[in-house]
Amino acid sequence: MLSEGSSFMKGMVMGGLFCLVLSLMGSFSPISDYKTDNHHHHHVKAASKEELSRRFSDSQVQGLNNQIRVYCVIMVQPKNLIYWATVIETWSKHCDKAEFYTSESSKALEAIDLKEKDDWARLRKALKHAYENAGDLRWFFVAQPTTFAIIENLKYLILTKDPNEPFYLGKTMKSGELDYVAYDSGIVLSYEALKRLINVFQDEDKCPEKGRALWKLSEDKQLAVCLKYTGVFAENGEDAHGKGLFNSRTVDSLIADSIKDNPNDVVEGCCSDLAVTFSGMSPNQMHVMMFGVYRLRPYGHDFHDSLAFYPPEGSDND
């Protein structure tokens, strides 16, 4: 009995050590020869109005305004056809380029058919296609059809950021040692980040197409692992007050929590005025959201924004 007990204990210790070794190997990042990865910023903040006027002249801001253009990479599947159609009819109209990438083709809606069932492999293909077809667009926004995005606020967040620097933004989450950007609240990649990613796709050791053999990571974590090898790290998108701009939940859900947590200041305690994404809304809620975000407002409240974005052509719900 005693010898069995001690052999069990020995086994446990060996098993534990084995796991530790594997984990350390998994998270060990090779020395990168990119000079820019020494800034350990963890959050990216939207510039405040004061900061903008301090750093830039009006015409410079106007220049930035015109240069910032976003390529939306929207990952769809025929099984969420209604959401897919709703995204086409709502927020994606505000992308400079909105491309829909599907796992299989649908007779009802057009998309780029990647003919790929594996989620991670499909995402890789989509990103590769986006990179190759970027034209002069330098920012990429990856979303699912259950996400609702306000592209103008995304542009405001990245206004003063250089797309030739690696940026990988959204709502950051932690999984053990890994910081990653959550998929459902949208993933923002600068041109440089995407370029590095496409390069590391060729490295089957660091960024295998079929994911790590031991346990399958979700695509958003896979993305973070691959990017980390290239010296690109997840950063949380926030407003000037530190409020997160990318939300994995609906407005209703976040407000419900705020009613419990901040009963005297529900709206202030909830969400940012500059929120970029919400997730989990029904298609009908997305239609209401278009009205609530782009149209509904109190008469007489004028904001003297430094930026100017115009309504898209041929649209009647914004």
Binding site: F18, K174, V267
Partner: protein, 331 residues
């Protein structure tokens, strides 16, 4: 010997799984930093000074023209509903009165009436008599709302600002049945001018208006017609409705052309489904839960697309969008 190998293997697996679970739930700081090259420590976030946009904090809400808001409520709703009205849109009222069957520290006005659908018109009559007696000179317009109505006071002010409050006028969501000039939906909220309020009171003192039905919005509408109070058209210059007797999702979701749904049956003006239903400067929505009040407050006053130049700018010299049609053509 064999059993020890088995127990060893079990121990091996157990140790592996245990440590794997433990590692995944540990915060990052536990691992030595040389092995975590580039993994960031969560730093403190410095709050920056507020961005330049208009900010409305609790005590500092911009007031509108002199519109007195009176909200129909009941003792049992104060904590669950009325409190949230007070926290949200009622702050934008020049003056807000909460009409109930009991006087409380909320504060509520105690009217001499019991609660219940059967007494709604009595409650309205008593409320208007109270307002006429105590508050007539304090305001130019008198808005009635329920405790599940959400109102955007700035937009109500915009609708009313073109009209003379001394004239007998009344605004809201116009319904067609029962009263030949139409009547205004109670749930969507309706507004009486000072002139209209005087006529309503006069109607009851002279006996021209009576309590002939408990259906308060229809009965009040009948009294308005009797007393020659003019029902206004509250739609915007593009013919879009501002007062809404149901929540936004009833109207805004695009539909294929279809027979009129039940909730649009009473409409005086030809209803539109989809984005053309509702004005950018919407005034009210009804059947709004407490949580939804905060959602609407957030969407109306806080969340916005930074820098967006709205399509609908009625004050611009150039018309942006189709030229406004005269109301008759839209009816």
């Amino acid at each position: 010997m064999r059993t020890t190998t088995i127990t060893f293997s079990i121990g091996l697996m157990a140790g592996f799984v245990l440590l794997h679970t433990a590692l995944n739930s540990l915060p990052a700081t536990k691992m030595p930093s040389v092995l975590l090259r580039g993994v960031n420590q969560r730093g403190g976030v410095q709050p920056d000074p507020k961005a330049g946009a208009n900010v409305h904090s609790a005590g500092n809400v911009p007031q509108t023209g002199r519109i007195l808001c009176w909200i129909m409520t009941a003792p049992k709703n104060l904590e669950t509903r009325t409190r949230h009205v007070r926290e949200t849109w009622a702050k934008h009222c020049f003056k807000a009165l909460y009409m109930s069957s009991a006087k409380t520290e909320f504060p509520t006005v105690g009217l001499n009436v019991s609660e219940g659908r059967g007494n709604l018109y009595w409650k309205t009559i008593l409320a208007l008599q109270h307002i006429h007696q105590h508050h007539l000179d304090e305001a130019d317009w008198f808005l009635k709302a329920d405790d599940d109505t959400y109102v955007i006071m700035e937009n109500l002010n915009y609708v009313l600002s073109k009209h003379d409050p001394e004239r007998p006028l009344y605004f809201g969501r116009r319904f067609a049945p029962f009263v030949s000039q139409g009547y205004m939906s109670g749930g969507a909220g309706y507004v009486l001018s000072k002139g209209a309020l005087r006529r309503f009171i006069e109607g009851f003192t002279t006996g021209k208006c009576t309590h002939f039905s408990p259906i308060e919005d229809m009965a009040l509408g009948k009294c308005m017609e009797t007393m020659k109070v003019e029902p206004g058209d509250s739609r915007d210059v593009m013919g879009r409705q501002t007062f809404h007797p149901f929540p936004p999702e009833y109207y805004l979701v695009p539909q294929l052309p279809r027979p009129r749904p039940w909730f649009l049956n009473y409409e005086y003006y030809k209803p539109v489904e989809g984005p053309g239903c509702c004005s950018d400067f919407a005034v009210s929505f009804h059947y709004i839960s407490a949580a939804q009040m905060y959602v609407l407050e957030y969407l109306t006053y806080h969340l916005r697309p930074h820098g967006y130049k709205h399509r609908f700018n009625p004050d611009d010299d150039k018309a942006s969008g189709p030229v406004a049609l005269p109301p008759a053509a839209l009816g």
